[in-house]
């Protein structure tokens, strides 16, 4: 896990491409192996000054951070990046953490997100979520 902090992988998810390859018409999602790995979140709806924000128009991406102890600070490196909207213009609200295993990043760890605006202004860290083994 100590290598996680050293990893600074810009992992750009083109969710639209991912969604095009599915072809699954069933109602039941495929079973998740080795624990739950689908990270979900609620997009921000306001700016820090409490004025309204439209995530589909104002959020460029979400930057993801991984830490084994859940301590995120200014020295934390971006591990993955998720587009703010999919190819239909709707806000993206999930990410499959299992994709990170290709980079040697395996649970257990904590994950946190930052919202990034079109002007490249970043939010604070979100409250972290724990991904167990």
């Amino acid at each position: 896990m100590t290598t996680i902090r050293q990893l600074s992988i810009w992992f750009i998810l083109i969710i639209g491409l991912a969604s095009c390859g599915g072809g699954d018409t069933g109602n039941v999602p495929p079973p998740v192996q080795n624990g739950d790995t689908n990270l979900t979140w609620t997009p921000p709806v306001c700016w820090a000054d409490n004025t309204p924000l439209q995530p589909e128009k104002d959020i460029s991406r979400y930057d993801g951070y991984i830490d084994e102890f859940g301590s995120f600070d200014d020295n934390s490196a971006v591990v993955f990046s998720v587009s703010g909207v999919d190819n239909t213009g709707r806000p993206i609200t999930s990410f499959n953490l299992r994709l990170l295993s290709a980079y040697g990043i395996h649970p257990p760890y904590y994950v946190s997100l930052k919202s990034v605006s079109l002007d490249n202004a970043t939010s604070k860290f979100s409250d972290p979520a724990f991904c167990g083994e």
């Binding site: 609620t42 700016w47 820090a48 000054d49 979400y62 994950v111 919202s115 202004a121 939010s123 972290p128």
Partner: protein
């Protein structure tokens, strides 16, 4: 008649972003001058401050943030003031003792962009 032109060299302006209020309001703050240009102490003389901003370094056509206040800071809202986010603006603050004004203490600032809040309700399912 004493020289009331305040020593601009020590009249420095400090800009403080209220990071904790995170974009709701910004605060322009400055240090009080302590001497006149002739080096003598201002002492207990009443000093007031006028804070302005402009898109030009020479502070032409300035917008007044605060006028003749006794405090060492003033808060403002970027949007209410009509500051263009991402643009460069210039602040100027001058002190007044009796009827004499100091030179401006100045500060360049790139107007901050709006900061989004973080996503919420992170879950792993």
């Amino acid at each position: 008649m004493k020289n009331f032109r305040l020593l601009s060299g020590i009249f420095t302006v400090l800009f403080v972003l209220l990071c904790y209020s995170y974009g709701q309001a910004e605060t322009l703050a400055w240090n009080a001058p302590t001497t006149y240009t002739d080096g003598s102490a201002i002492g207990t003389a009443a000093v007031t401050y006028t804070a302005r901003w402009s898109t030009s370094l020479s502070l032409t056509n300035p917008h007044t943030l605060a006028s003749a206040i006794s405090g060492l800071s003033t808060t403002f809202n970027v949007d209410t003031e009509g500051m263009v986010r991402g643009s460069t603006i210039y602040f100027g603050v001058y002190a007044t003792v009796a009827t004499a004004n100091s030179a401006d203490g100045t500060l360049l600032w790139v107007v901050s962009y709006k900061v989004p809040t973080a996503p919420g309700n992170l879950r792993i399912q």
